[in-house]
Point group: C2
Chain length 242, copies 2
């Protein structure tokens, strides 16, 4: 009786439609990450759906990091990061594959192919300033290695710094996502423990040296050696289980 009498909106608007309309709203309004979105009340009025439907659509968009919801404050355009990829690959590694080792191997192969190909491009475009930044990271690696401590964070920083000169924002985010998944999955088995930090530090030193000499082939070899070391850890873990 009350409410809206079938006002021409009798289309089969499934929940996904609301999602798309919110995304379209962001596109139409040219909203940048961090920009505020209409409140749930406003959305439910402008879209002509109930608040529950709005919230479900917003929750789905939040899972994709397309919107960011702050309790008691408001809803904002998200960063569209690769967090969904991390969640998806992590879940996939823990369920789909026969064992985690296979999933980790696949991720590692993609990382290796990517970084081997990227290092050859970096070798041609790297600046002295970036070489200096890498030098500092490697130096700190060698300090930690001398103290017998592993340095996963420095490792991550090294690779992230490495590909900055490419001017490709997608590359570091992709690699960070793979790195994150690998360590989250391998971590529960203890496969990400670096048994010999000084060897790992040496691998990075080799990469940097080759980079300084602009020796593409040598840089690729050094990167390949680095990944061979990572694989060895994981493989040795699988053998231990058997």
């Amino acid at each position: 009786m009350r409410g809206m009498p079938e006002s021409a909106s009798n289309k089969r608007r499934t929940g996904g439609q609301v999602q798309r309309r919110v995304m379209q709203l962001i596109l139409d309004e040219r909203l940048r990450p961090g920009a505020p979105l209409p409140t749930e009340t406003e959305l439910m009025e402008s879209l002509g759906v109930s608040r529950n439907s709005v919230r479900e659509a917003l929750k789905a968009l939040q899972a994709l990091d397309i919107v960011e919801i702050r309790h008691g404050y408001g809803t904002y355009v998200g960063q569209a990061s690769l967090t969904p990829l991390v969640d998806g690959l992590t879940f996939r590694a823990l369920t789909q594959l026969e064992d985690e080792a296979q999933a980790l191997g696949e991720i590692l192969q993609v990382r290796e192919v990517l970084e081997e190909g990227l290092i050859s491009r970096v070798a041609q475009s790297v600046t002295d300033q970036e070489l200096a930044a890498l030098e500092e990271v490697v130096a700190r690696m060698e300090e930690e290695a001398h103290a017998g401590r592993p340095f996963p964070q420095l490792d991550r920083t090294f690779h992230e710094t490495l590909y900055r000169s490419l001017g490709n924002e997608l590359v570091p985010q992709l690699l960070a996502a793979f790195w994150h998944v690998f360590h989250r999955v391998a971590g529960v088995r203890g496969w990400d423990q670096d048994p010999s930090p000084h060897v790992t530090a040496r691998r990075h030193r080799d990469i940097l040296t080759a980079l300084r000499a602009r020796d593409v082939a040598q840089a690729q070899r050094a990167m390949a050696d680095h990944f061979r070391g990572i694989e060895a850890r994981a493989w040795q873990g699988t053998l231990g289980v058997k």
Copy 2:
């Protein structure tokens, strides 16, 4: 300073909690993709939350393709595909970057690096049977090219078939995701129109020929040429705008 509501200890204890408990349920029960999940009523009782909270969590997991909801039937474990990555990258390309051309360039560079690196591995492991399958695809490309018709689907099939021998399930899914994003974003500008199908067919023929000869370097060159052709289309599109 009073108690700082730092987010270090505050890790989404509200909404995300239900999501994680459902994910944990899947992991604990060792549920495979396609396996049925408890109904919303059962979940709301077993988790001690309302139906609304259950539905919002399920919607978020659906967006990540971790669960699959069939209207009027039930909820099932999802395929954990890379659909979220497609949605995220598409949205990112349409909003974050200055113009779509930059986003497309980044995706293209990643694809190029990946495929150039992968082709060298394929060249060593490809079997005669797979070469025959590729031959058939290329032959159909040449038919279409002779008729002046573009063949985006055949192109996709070629690259998908190419990397099957690696035994890496992640690779084709990643490439398919990038391919999907590229064509969805480029499609709205018409940049994905292939102006010369016979040239594209020739590129793939070159790749196959190099693969037959197990010539790694030549295969990489042919793959690079292929991507140079794709870039040319997109670049020419951007120049036309200016």
